[in-house]
């Protein structure tokens, strides 16, 4: 074991040499929706130019991103599931949470619309109809922010999805993009965040069927991981990122990010 350890150390050190020469950076644990929508690709170069700090984004589901930070492997978390974020704070892993921006979830479904929900503005009503019709529905099933939001909506609709789901409910355990690919392939309904949907290319027969319901609100928050709990956290650099993203300049940059003229995220830091 000792030999293996020594070997690993040596290999790691050898391979780490070029990395050591790199300048200052932080690791941000964030969600697939912010990464895959292209927001970071737009935002981070601007932040880097201003501060010289490189931001390394690890894009995971919200649950996984928080778990990563719980182990001290990230300096900042940037996620979207309030209940999970509050739990993270209560455990002492985060310093303080700030609202950053919002967009909304949309219910996406096949144009043929077997559950007859298209055009409705009531997401709970739509979910009830989908279940009644037994129309295929794809769930993320990966403890991501979108998955947590979906579960909350089923609960609000008075449906105990864990107990009442049938073969029509496909739990895929995948990120937003792969889940959309799955839904496109089997013409299923799926709850998606608008950002990923707008930038998603393989839509097939899918289109938005329900949107605009207040309950589809999707808030993103940012937190510095608690340096008192995780000594490896780069406190100053991480804080600089948090401060910038909620500053008027950071907020303006978020508002400026558009795909095909459509704004993806709406800044709302207080």
């Amino acid at each position: 074991m000792d030999l293996i350890r020594r070997f690993l150390l040596l290999a790691a050190l050898l391979a780490a040499l070029p990395a050591l020469a790199q300048e200052k950076f932080i690791v941000v644990a964030s969600t697939t929706s912010t990464e895959q929508s292209g927001l970071f690709g737009y935002l981070l170069p601007i932040f880097q130019k201003k501060t010289g700090i490189h931001v390394r984004v690890v894009a995971l589901g919200t649950g996984q991103a928080l778990d990563l930070a719980r182990r001290g492997d990230a300096d900042v978390v940037f996620v979207h599931a309030r209940s999970a974020e509050d739990k993270f704070l209560a455990e002492g892993h985060g310093v303080r949470r700030f609202d950053v921006m919002y967009n909304d979830f949309v219910l996406v479904g096949p144009r043929a619309d077997p559950a007859k929900v298209s055009g409705g503005g009531d997401i709970l009503d739509a979910l009830k109809k989908i279940k009644a019709a037994g129309a295929p529905f794809v769930s993320r099933g990966d403890k991501s922010g979108t998955h947590i939001a979906e579960l909350d909506l089923w609960k609000l609709a008075g449906i105990d999805i864990a107990a009442e789901k049938g073969p029509w409910y496909r739990d895929t355990g995948q990120g937003m993009g792969p889940a959309l690919n799955t839904a496109a392939a089997m013409n299923a309904y799926i709850l998606a965040d608008r950002g990923t949907w707008i930038s998603f290319k393989n839509r097939g027969e899918l289109a938005i069927v329900v949107e605009g319901d207040k309950r589809l609100f999707n808030q993103y928050g940012v937190m510095l991981v608690n340096p008192a709990k995780h000594s490896s956290v780069k406190k100053d650099l991480g804080q600089a990122f948090v401060d910038w993203i909620i500053s008027s300049e950071g907020q303006k940059t978020i508002a400026e990010y558009k795909i095909g003229g459509e704004q993806l995220f709406f800044p709302n830091a207080k």
Partner: protein, 231 residues
């Protein structure tokens, strides 16, 4: 499919600097992993081939079984090891190419060790008497056989390289697929698939296959040249 081909061609013709960076990182990571795994795996395979020790058969079965190590499991283990909360967390190399090299080296070490063990053991059976009559000890015999079977061992190493270059599960977890830092060919393909840009993903896949073919062709040519020169 034709869309994918044109995407691949556009990428190649444009010689996108980002793509070049990703390809070079892929090669750097997988070739480093192969080098480390070969340095450890070949002597290990030779030792097991000519050595006689209790539990040898168990070791062989285990080694053969480990060739099927799932990349995700290796990724998870290396992640837990390198995580700040893990035993090697102080190194701070999680989410760097180094972590990816470690994960891939572990993944392909059993492949190189197991296949080289078999090749060398076959040669050992054939030449054992001869080597012993020349008074070669087991260490010398192992060294001689390593040299004699070098062309089979090259294929063994290529098998390891193929596995390293093709896997996505381990590097995704320990590298984090960070743009410009740990994004390699396979994780890029996974990402583009996630975005629903299937032609681009497939185009990148074609480039990856072309690179693997190029590496194999280079190895083959080297071997042919060497064989012709040294017999």
């Amino acid at each position: 499919m034709s869309e994918a081909l044109s995407a691949a061609l556009a990428l190649l013709i444009g010689l996108d600097s980002k793509l070049v960076e990703i390809v070079l990182l892929s090669l750097r990571v997988s070739l480093s992993a192969v080098a480390i795994a070969a340095l450890v795996g070949l002597p290990l395979g030779a030792a097991i081939a000519v050595g006689r020790f209790p539990g040898r058969q168990t070791v062989i079965v285990l080694l053969n079984a480990l060739m099927g190590l799932p990349p995700v499991v290796v990724g998870l283990l290396v992640y837990l090891l390198l995580s700040r909360a893990g035993p090697l967390g102080a190194l701070g190399i999680l989410f760097t190419p180094s972590a990816m090299v470690v994960a891939q080296a572990i993944l392909i070490l059993p492949i190189i060790a197991a296949l080289s063990r078999q090749a060398i053991e076959d040669a050992w059976r054939e030449y054992e008497e001869q080597l012993c009559s020349l008074g070669a000890g087991r260490v010398n015999a192992a060294l001689t056989l390593l040299w004699d079977t070098r062309f089979s061992l090259l294929t063994t190493i290529l098998a390891g390289f193929g596995r390293a270059a093709a896997e996505v599960g381990a590097v995704m977890i320990v590298g984090g697929n960070i743009d410009g830092v740990t994004r390699v060919m396979t994780t890029t393909i996974a990402l583009e698939t996630s975005k629903g840009d299937l032609p681009l993903a497939l185009g990148l896949g074609m480039i990856l296959i072309a690179i693997v073919i190029a590496v194999n062709a280079a190895a083959y040519l080297t071997k042919e040249l060497a064989q012709r020169r040294y017999g």
